[in-house]
Symmetry: C2
Subunit: 424 residues, 2 copies
C-alpha cells in the first residue's frame, strides 16, 4: 500500500540532521554526511544543495587521499551571528559569535545606574559595540541574568544586584533589537558553556557548581540543560549539612552557603583569628595568606573544601554524573581546598562511581556567561525550529522553495552524483 | 530544487507518531490523528491503513455528533503481549499486559533456592503461568531486579538477596524465551510505573523514593527515566544528614538509611524503650503501637518523618520536581510520619517551589514491580525502533512493504477521503 509522507516535515528533519552534523564535526564530505544521517547519497546531496543555495553551508575542495579530491562541507560562518550578553555584578559583557560558533568581537561596559533604564542602556551599548560591523544578520541574542529567572517567559523574577523584580527582559530587548531574545540565569548559561566548550566537553551528565557570594548549580542531564519544572533547580547552596549550624540568608541553618561561600569563609577565618570588629577581606587575600603559611586561612580553605566535597558527594549519589565542575572564586582556592574536597567526595560517593567521576575546575572563567548566553540561542538555531531562526532558509521557503517539495525527481541527485565528489 | 526525502525513515516516524497518539489517548478519529500529527489527512490515513493491515490498530464506528458516524481507531490489544516480572524478596511475580497496556493475567510463585538455577526456574514457571493462553505473540519481557543492575547490558551486577553477582540475566532469559528481555532495577521500574499509572500520573519530573530495609530513589526527568552514567543513581538513602550519626552499612555515618529505614526505626524505638537484648519487630507492629498511644513509637515515626522531609527538601532544591512520591513500608507510617515529613519538606524547599510540589504515597503497592517491568518494554515498543519489537509490522516489511514506498500515489488516500470518515 503506498504511504504518502509529509515532505515538508521530512525535509526539515533531514536538513537539521545535516546542520547538526556540521555543527559537531566542523567539516564533512557528502559521503560522510550520507553515511552518518542514514540518508541516501542522492537525498543527502539534495539537502546540501539547498543549504548551499541559501548560503547556510559552504564547500571547498579537500585533499586527495589517493583518488579524486573530495568536496568538503561546513557551516558558512557569515550565515548569521549570535550575541551573548552577561549581566554581571558591576559590568555588562557582550560577545558576538559567527554561525560556526567562533568568537568575533567582545565588549565590556560598566553597569549603568540600577533600575531598568541604566542597565538597559548599558546592554544596548555593549550589544551595539559587538554588532556594528558584522558581515551578516544577527540571528538572536542570549542573555545570562543573575538571580531568579523564568526562562520560558524570558522574565527576570528577582535580581537584587540589578534592583529588578518581574522584568520582562526578553520582550523589552527583542522590541529594541528586532531579533529574538532568550534569557536564562547565569548559572544555567555557564553550565551550557562549560559542557560544550570548557571543562565538561564530551560529557552528557554534568553538575556545574559556582561558588562565589552564593553557591548554585546547573545541570546538564542526558545531554540537555535540565530546568526542572518549578523554577528552582540546582540550589545545592541550600543543602543543609549542619542542622544546628549558622543561620543562612534563606532562613534555614547550616546550608552549604554558610560553610563554603566567600562571605562564609571570610567570617570563619576572622572567627578563627578572634577578629570581631568591622573588616573586609577579599577571597584572594585569604588564599594569599593561606599559601604564605597563615594557619587560620589554611584551616578555612580545608574545612570549606571538605564541606563542598560532602555536598557534591550527595549530589553524585543522587545523579550519577560523569563530570562535576567547580567554578567561581572559591574554585581558585588551590590544593588546600581541592585536596580535602576530592577526598571527601570520593569518600561520600558510593562505588563504583566514585573513582570515575571527572572533577575539574571550570575553564571559561569570566567568558562563561557570554559563551553560555550565546549557547542558549545556538541550541534553538540547531533545533527542529531552525527555520524560524535562519532568515536565509525562511526566505527561500517564502520564495517557493516549498513548491519544490511537490515535483520530486531523480535528476538533481543523479546529476550531482556523476559530478563525483563521492569517494569510497 | 527538488529535495528527495528518505521514504522509509519518514514512514517510520509517521507511524510512530500515530502509535504514540493512540497509546496516549486510547481512541482517536482520523481527523484527530491528522490534526495532532500535523500530517495531511491523506498521509495520516495511509499510515492508519498500513497499521490496520498489519492488525496493529483496529477500527470501529463511533457515535455521531450530528453528522456521519466517525471511524475511531485504537491499538489492537492482541497485537502482542508484554510480560513484567518482579524478582521480590521471597517470591516472583509475573504479569502479562495486552498491547493497550491492560493487565491480562498475573502469577506469584515462591522464590526457588537462591543461586541461578532455583531463581531462574521460578521465573520460568511464573512467566509460563501468564503466557500459556495468550491470543497473540509475546513482544518482550521486562524484569525488575533487586540490587545493582547495569540496564544497558541487562546484567545484575550484585543482588545479595538472590545470591547473584554479575549474572547476564537478559541474555540468559532471552535465550530461554526466544524474545527480547530488558532488565533494570526494581526502583527504576517502580518509578516508571508510578509515573505512568500511579501517584505521579501526568507529571514530567518525578522523584520516587522507596523506603523499606533500604532507601533508594528513581528519577523521571523531562518525562524520561534518568539513569545517569555510572550506574549509581538515586542513592538518596546515603545522603549524609547527621555527620556524627550512626554507622551505615555503606561505611559512612548518619546516612538517611540510618535514620528512616525500617531497621533504623526499629532500632531507634527499642533504644528509646531501653531494650537492648535480641528482639524482632515488624514495621506494622511499630505503627500499631504508635497509633495505640505508645510514646516511643510515636516519637520514632515523627523523627523519621522529619529526616525524610529534610532529605527530600534537599532533593527538591536540587531538581525542582513537580512530584515527590514515597513508597515502601515506611510510606505506611500514617500521619505521625507524614505530617512532620511534609512540614520539614516545605520548610527546607526554597520558595516558590515549596507549596506546589505534589507529594503523595505510591499507589501501585506490590504491583509497581510488574507494571514497571512491563513499562521498560513498552517504552521500547513505542520508540523509533518499534519495528524490531512488532513482528506484524516487521513481517510486512519483509514481504515487500518497503517496495510500496517507491510507487507513491494519490489514489489510496484520495479514495479513502471520499469514504468520508472525516468530520469537521
Amino acid at each position: 500500500m503506498p504511504v504518502r509522507i509529509d515532505p515538508h516535515r521530512s525535509r526539515q528533519l533531514n536538513r537539521l540532521s545535516i546542520l547538526q552534523l556540521l555543527r559537531a564535526h566542523g567539516e564533512l564530505s557528502g559521503y560522510d554526511l550520507a553515511r552518518r544521517t542514514g540518508l541516501s547519497r542522492t537525498a543527502a546531496y539534495n539537502v546540501v544543495d539547498e543549504l548551499l543555495a541559501s548560503a547556510t553551508v559552504r564547500e571547498r575542495l579537500g585533499r586527495s587521499r589517493g583518488g579524486r579530491r573530495p568536496v568538503l562541507y561546513s557551516l558558512n560562518p557569515d550565515t548569521g551571528f549570535v550575541i551573548g550578553v552577561d549581566l554581571g555584578g558591576s559590568r555588562i559583557r557582550a560577545e558576538s559569535f559567527s554561525f560556526d560558533e567562533k568568537s568575533v568581537a567582545s565588549s565590556e561596559v560598566p553597569m549603568g545606574l540600577t533600575g531598568n533604564g541604566g542597565v538597559l542602556s548599558s546592554v544596548l551599548e555593549a550589544v551595539g559595540n559587538v554588532t556594528s560591523s558584522l558581515p551578516g544578520p544577527v540571528l538572536g541574542i542570549g542573555i545570562a541574568a543573575p538571580g531568579l529567572v523564568d526562562a520560558s517567559q524570558g522574565m527576570v523574577l528577582q535580581a537584587a544586584n540589578l534592583g529588578w523584580q518581574d522584568v520582562p527582559l526578553a520582550q523589552i530587548l527583542s522590541g529594541r533589537f528586532g531579533r529574538p531574545v532568550i534569557v536564562d540565569n547565569d548559572t544555567n548559561a555557564a553550565t551550557l558553556a562549560e559542557t560544550r566548550f570548557g571543562a565538561g566537553r564530551g560529557h552528557r551528565n554534568v553538575v556545574y557548581v559556582r561558588a562565589d557570594t552564593g553557591i548554585g548549580a546547573g545541570l546538564v542531564l542526558d545531554g540537555k540543560l535540565y530546568r526542572g519544572e518549578l523554577g528552582v533547580v540546582g540550589e545545592v547552596g541550600h543543602t543543609v549539612l549542619e542542622p544546628d549550624g549558622a543561620l543562612c540568608a534563606c532562613g534555614r541553618r547550616g546550608c552549604l552557603e554558610t560553610l563554603a561561600s566567600v562571605p562564609a569563609m571570610v567570617r570563619r577565618y576572622r572567627a578563627l583569628r578572634g577578629e570581631t570588629g568591622p573588616g573586609e577581606l577579599r577571597f584572594k587575600d585569604l588564599t594569599s595568606r593561606a599559601y604564605a603559611g597563615d594557619e587560620a586561612a589554611r584551616v578555612t580553605l580545608r574545612e570549606s573544601g571538605r564541606w563542598l566535597g560532602h555536598a557534591l558527594g550527595n549530589v553524585a549519589n543522587l545523579l550519577g554524573p560523569s563530570a562535576i565542575l567547580l567554578a567561581g572564586q572559591v574554585a581558585g582556592g588551590g590544593p588546600l581546598l581541592w585536596e580535602p574536597l576530592l577526598a571527601e567526595l570520593r569518600h561520600r560517593a558510593l562505588s563504583p562511581a566514585a573513582g570515575q567521576i571527572w572533577v575539574a575546575r571550570g575553564e571559561l572563567k569570566e567568558r562563561a556567561g557570554t559563551v553560555g548566553a550565546a549557547q542558549l540561542v545556538f541550541e534553538q538555531v540547531f533545533s527542529p525550529d531552525h527555520e524560524d531562526w535562519l532568515p536565509a532558509l525562511r526566505d527561500r521557503q517564502a520564495e517557493g522553495g516549498s513548491q519544490a517539495d511537490q515535483d520530486e525527481g531523480e535528476d538533481g541527485g543523479g546529476a550531482r552524483e556523476s559530478n563525483g565528489s563521492c569517494m569510497g
